[in-house]
Symmetry: C2
Amino acid sequence: MLGVLGGMGPLATVDFLAKLVAADVADTDQRHMPFVVRSVPQIPDRSRAIITGGESPLPALRQGMRALAEMGATVVAIPCNTAHHWADALSGPDLPPILHIVDAVADRLAEILPGGAPIAVLSTEGTRAARVYENRLDPRWPILDTVPAEAAAVAHGIALVKAGRIEAARAIFTDAVTAQRGRGAAAVVLACTEIPAAMPPGDGIVDATQALAERCVRWYRESFAGFAPAEPQAAYRAAS
Amino acid sequence: MLGVLGGMGPLATVDFLAKLVAADVADTDQRHMPFVVRSVPQIPDRSRAIITGGESPLPALRQGMRALAEMGATVVAIPCNTAHHWADALSGPDLPPILHIVDAVADRLAEILPGGAPIAVLSTEGTRAARVYENRLDPRWPILDTVPAEAAAVAHGIALVKAGRIEAARAIFTDAVTAQRGRGAAAVVLACTEIPAAMPPGDGIVDATQALAERCVRWYRESFAGFAPAEPQAAYRAAS
């Protein structure tokens, strides 16, 4: 069963779950994929920990992973790009494997830019400083440098989403996408889960949250291809 | 910590969570209320169990309640009106108390119709047959009888939502609200969590899902008034 390590932030978690359920097309309740969610937002700020050496979120993240495992999660999705800085530290024999958000984005880029091309990544300062995308993404999609003033604007937009000020944030993100396209980005990755919560999809835009949701649905269908969605009771037993 | 017994259906669960996070206004992630969700939709159909004596969902519901308690839930919300038929059977010393959806609707009716008035309840056939609202709602809000053809149309609309056909469902629900108003309903309760997933709010419409979300936020603020949201770390310890 899928576990969702949420709360970073809560709105981004809900946006991910909405995309998960929408991607999981089924004609009755019983044929939808089961999942469990832990949204405990009292986790130290991820970007602050990376940039200024503030309190590490790792103990809280590990506690969340263990709680999900106890609830029956056999794989975990984390709808927070920055938290993936700790993905390797969160792997171990006692913890479920993570469906990595950068791998999900790579799957999507392979569809729209199979030959490779420069891309832009809109993210928190923490995701950028930790090189979450640079360290994992195939180099056929080189990531354009970020202009400091634009990066600061995006960070401000993310803070606005966390405070529920969606409209103000949307204007900032739209400007950032336009600027990156002007510098030659063939695709722009919305690589903070707060950004797509404020911004509609569009051509050449890769919503990392949407990519992760689709990756989760594929995982479910591949894992339970033998009996789900045709035999919901078997999926129930597997989820229990 | 709040537990959400979801999956009935998954889209209704996400609609509830979106309303919960929106009602829980906070300026940073860390000040949002923590919650855990179990969305395992492989639960026998609630209406079928009530109407035709099909397989009871009670064992699966009880399993879900116990799993939420093990995850730290000290109170549970169930974003499914029909499942509240089993609310009394789901109470016991080993299970967290349920924030009942009919009580949440009553709180809202007390605000908009404090003196009482006839109302209409749009629901599944199961909710109506089990008299979930009639058995619990204060009689100052008498519930108008339902016309069989309209009830069948609403049931069909609910099935359309579960299958993801939102637009088609919306037209059905809009017609039902108009008809009930024509027969003298001072308010119309959207008393199946699938209905508000397809229908926007409006004057004289009580969205049971929204009412339940607001009830949960009040519970959190009353329960943790001494230290939350001012001291997120205390809320974290309480949630852990």
